[in-house]
């Protein structure tokens, strides 16, 4: 019955757009219609996914894909541009949650595994994925008619992008299951640190590839510039977080509005500048959590409680942006890329985790937390397409196709991992002797 009414509303909004479009061309109204359909449909499909024992965000993503401009077209490309604001806001709030979950005590307690796994991922995944793809190139020329230099640059860049994960997906599944524990903390920590590392690594490899293909000298100044931008992002985030914390302590009223404004300010900063929106919000969340621990708990609880609309909007919009057509075009190399990446992640997580003395759950299931890929990978692919068109176009195509698989598969395996490791709240309550204890 509820689905039937959703379909009525979807048809109504489609009809309203056609009827009204002739007389009043209002892009904001059209975008709101798309957003309304995505929100209501997202909630319903999230519930359906939960009934099928899948993560809710898988439901949101599938609904987004079905409604997006590459499928039914309830949301058009023009709507997507206008809804960027909401996507940015949701991403900012997710990043604030991620930063807020990252306490100094966790870093101190799990410093060894965090550093070991991050280092292993940074070098191991690049090497394994790039090497395997280089071998595959001999059988399937998925980079098109490329010179050896372009092939090397292409596979190296694909290797670097394979390191990227989706912090939003990681935190969304954790929030949904209200998970706590060693594995969850370690995976979250590595995800956040990798987010910093991947931007630097990508910039370095991309700069080297550009200069090599152009026959020039490597411009290491670019790397310095990016490192500076990251540092500035973190500093700005820290300052904004400190201000927000002060506000929460001194006033406390209209806190959700203040948080939204922070996310908005960060998104605005990120637009057209080198400032990373995600990093600013993560640093802000980290600052609030660690500088104002008394109010941070309350603030994070509020963010967690309001996670449903944030995740519905964000993941439905991410799903709408995924192009199934590209996946169909390059499905074979994409499948190989995804498989090799998953294998590399497994290997480079298990070995260092065991060596650093992590618990058996982390050693066995931790790798599953690094499968999902979304915005960051797509952003890197888009940047590559722009900066290095010779190899960028086929690489970006492959990355987009792989993201479709990883983003659908990632939340599912990550949820399975958390459940198997017994780090959901339900499991913890049972271990502690039930809710009455």
């Amino acid at each position: 019955m509820r689905w039937a009414f959703f379909l009525v509303l979807a048809v109504f909004s489609w009809g309203a757009r056609i009827v009204g479009g002739a007389a009043v061309d209002d892009p904001a109204g059209s975008a709101l219609l798309a957003l309304g359909c995505l929100i209501i449909g997202g909630v319903l499909s999230g519930e359906l996914a939960a009934r099928l024992r899948l993560p809710k965000i898988t439901g949101y993503l599938v609904l987004g894909m079905a409604a997006g401009p590459h499928a039914v077209g309830l949301e058009t490309a023009r709507d997507a541009t206008l809804l960027r604001l909401f996507e940015d806001l949701a991403l900012g709030l997710i990043a604030l949650t991620a930063g807020g979950e990252f306490r100094l005590a966790i870093i101190r307690r799990r410093l060894r595994p965090l550093l070991a796994i991050t280092a292993a991922h940074t070098f191991g995944i690049v090497f394994l994925v790039a090497g395997s793809l280089w071998l595959l190139l001999g059988i399937v020329p998925f980079l098109g008619p490329a010179s050896p230099a372009e092939m090397i640059a292409g596979v190296c860049l694909l290797g670097v992008i394979a390191v990227a994960v989706s912090p939003a997906t990681t935190i969304a599944v954790i929030t949904d299951l209200r998970a706590r524990g060693e594995m969850v903390e370690t995976v979250l920590g590595v995800t956040i640190i990798k987010d910093l590392v991947i931007i630097l690594l990508f910039t370095a490899v991309s700069a080297l590839a550009t200069s090599w293909l152009d026959g020039g000298v490597s411009d290491l100044g670019v790397i310095r510039h990016v490192a500076l931008e990251i540092a500035v992002s973190l500093l700005i985030g820290g300052a904004l977080g400190a201000t927000l914390g002060l506000y929460l302590v001194k006033v406390g009223r209209l806190a959700p509005l203040a948080v939204l404004l922070l996310a908005l300010a960060s998104a605005e900063l990120g637009r057209g500048s080198g400032i990373e929106h995600l990093l600013v919000c993560m640093a802000a969340g980290f600052a609030v959590r660690n500088l104002y621990p008394k109010v941070a708990g309350h603030f994070l609880d509020a963010l967690e409680q309001s996670s449903t609309p944030i995740y519905v909007i964000f993941f439905a919009l991410v799903g709408a942006g995924l192009d199934l057509g590209i996946f169909v075009a390059v499905w074979l190399p994409a499948l190989v890329y995804v498989t090799v990446r998953a294998f590399a992640i497994r290997l480079t997580t298990r070995l260092p985790a065991r060596a650093a003395g992590s618990g058996p759950a982390m050693v066995r299931y931790g790798w599953m937390g690094f499968v999902a890929q979304a915005g960051l990978s797509l952003g890197l692919a888009a940047r590559l397409q722009r900066d290095l068109p010779e190899v960028g176009v086929p690489v970006a195509t492959l990355v987009i196709a792989a993201v479709v698989i990883n983003q659908l598969l990632g939340p599912v395996v990550w949820q399975r991992a958390i459940v198997a490791a017994g780090e959901t709240r339900k499991n913890q309550t049972a271990q502690e002797g039930g809710p009455m204890s």
Partner: protein, 393 residues
């Protein structure tokens, strides 16, 4: 590059200072929503193009979605307060008084605006604003204090509780007339059909929401579904050339009267009301380009409205005396002057929807201040025991 950050920091600072000021005023019994709303308009003005220039035009244009959604939400909040079963419980006399008194406040303003040469839609819109009396100030002043005439207070609250309904109905007609697709506006559709479409859009989405929230208990889940529905109302209204506020009010009314748990939906609506109103007012303040003032609107909403209120108050008293509902209270009509959130919402809707509303915002805001000051003065003098107030503070 740093404009967004500076805007954020300034906004937070303003909010901190505003909250401190508000607390200080509240301790002295001076709290009222209109003044708070105006302070947020002022903050927006200070941050916007006419002030610090932190909200450039492109940023404001991208915020139009927020404005449309915010207006829909304000309408929704109003709609979920219209419970037919409560209205039915009232005696017929109370219902008639509740309906007719606000209309008596609005009609002279509409007539005056037409005489001043304003176009019919704008005249009706101002009439709707004139009707939107708010009980917030009266409730704030009389809560926990000795009141001289409880019957008069109850009568005023009754009228003010009803006032929003004719105001929103008037406003629906006004927006239909002002619509770009209306017959009078160069379009082809008669305006009364647009009123019907507005109500139909609201009713359809409202009824769909009734089904969607069935079996849902979590507040955040209800809020998400309600927000999605309001996006649909705001979007449909915008693409059809209608105003979202009356359509959303209709959706809210359908929802609250068909829902199994109307109180839950009321809580949901109120939980987002304040942030939406603040965001709307700041954005409207930021987009203010400045320096025009419609003297006609100001006079209509102050002098004409006050005269209408005094006459309506006298008629109301004489009718009440006959039925022994209230003892005589001199100048009861002055108690109908204070206005609140709905009036602010309506003026925001006029600014964002009506063609060429130059000078209206400034005049309406100034009129709201004057009306609330006069209303407060009268209420303190006639209704609330001054000695008791001093003792309480």
């Amino acid at each position: 590059m740093l404009r967004g950050t500076i805007a954020f920091l300034v906004l937070v600072t303003c909010a901190v200072l505003g909250a401190e000021l508000r607390n200080t005023l509240a301790r002295r019994g001076l709290r009222e929503p209109t003044m708070e709303g105006i302070s947020f308009l002022a903050i927006g003005f200070a941050l916007g193009g006419s002030g610090l220039g932190l909200f450039p035009d492109d940023l404001l244009a991208s915020m139009r979605i927020v404005v449309l959604f915010g207006l829909a939400w304000i309408g929704f909040v109003f709609g979920v307060q219209i419970e037919v079963r409560i209205i039915r419980r009232l005696a017929p006399w109370h219902r008639w008084v509740g309906w007719l008194t606000p209309i008596a406040l609005g009609l002279p303003v509409v007539a005056g605006a037409l005489v001043c040469g304003q176009y019919p839609a704008l005249a009706l819109g101002q009439g709707a604003i004139a009707m939107a009396a708010s009980p917030s100030l009266l409730e704030g002043l009389s809560r926990g204090r000795q009141v001289r005439d409880r019957r008069a207070v109850r009568l005023l609250k009754l009228v003010m509780a009803f006032a929003g309904l004719p105001a929103v109905i008037f406003f629906a007609f006004a927006t239909a007339l002002a619509s770009r697709v209306a017959d009078s506006g160069g379009g082809e559709i008669p305006f009364w059909q647009l009123v019907v479409v507005t109500a139909a859009v609201g009713a359809l989405v409202g009824y769909a929401l009734v089904v969607l929230v069935r079996g849902v208990r979590e507040h955040i889940q209800l809020l998400t579904l309600a927000a999605g529905s309001m996006c649909l109302v705001a979007g449909a209204a915008a693409v059809l050339g209608l105003s979202a506020l009356p359509a959303a009010a209709c959706a809210g009314a359908v929802l609250v009267n068909r829902s199994v748990f109307p109180n839950r939906m009321l809580r949901v609506a109120h939980s987002l009301e304040r942030p939406m109103l603040v965001a709307l007012l700041v954005l409207v303040g930021a987009s203010w380009k400045g320096a025009s003032f419609s003297l006609a609107t100001f006079v209509l909403l102050t002098v004409v409205r006050t005269m209408a209120a005094v006459i309506a108050g006298e008629v109301l008293q004489s009718s009440a005396r006959k039925r022994r509902v209230s003892a005589p209270t001199p100048g009861l009509g002055f108690g109908l002057l204070p206005q609140g959130e709905l009036a602010l919402g309506l003026v925001v809707a006029i600014v964002s929807f009506f063609p060429s509303p130059a000078g209206i915002l400034e005049a309406v805001v100034a009129a709201l201040v004057v009306n609330n000051l006069i209303g407060r003065w009268w209420m303190r003098r006639r209704l609330v025991d001054a000695a008791a107030m001093r003792a309480a503070s």
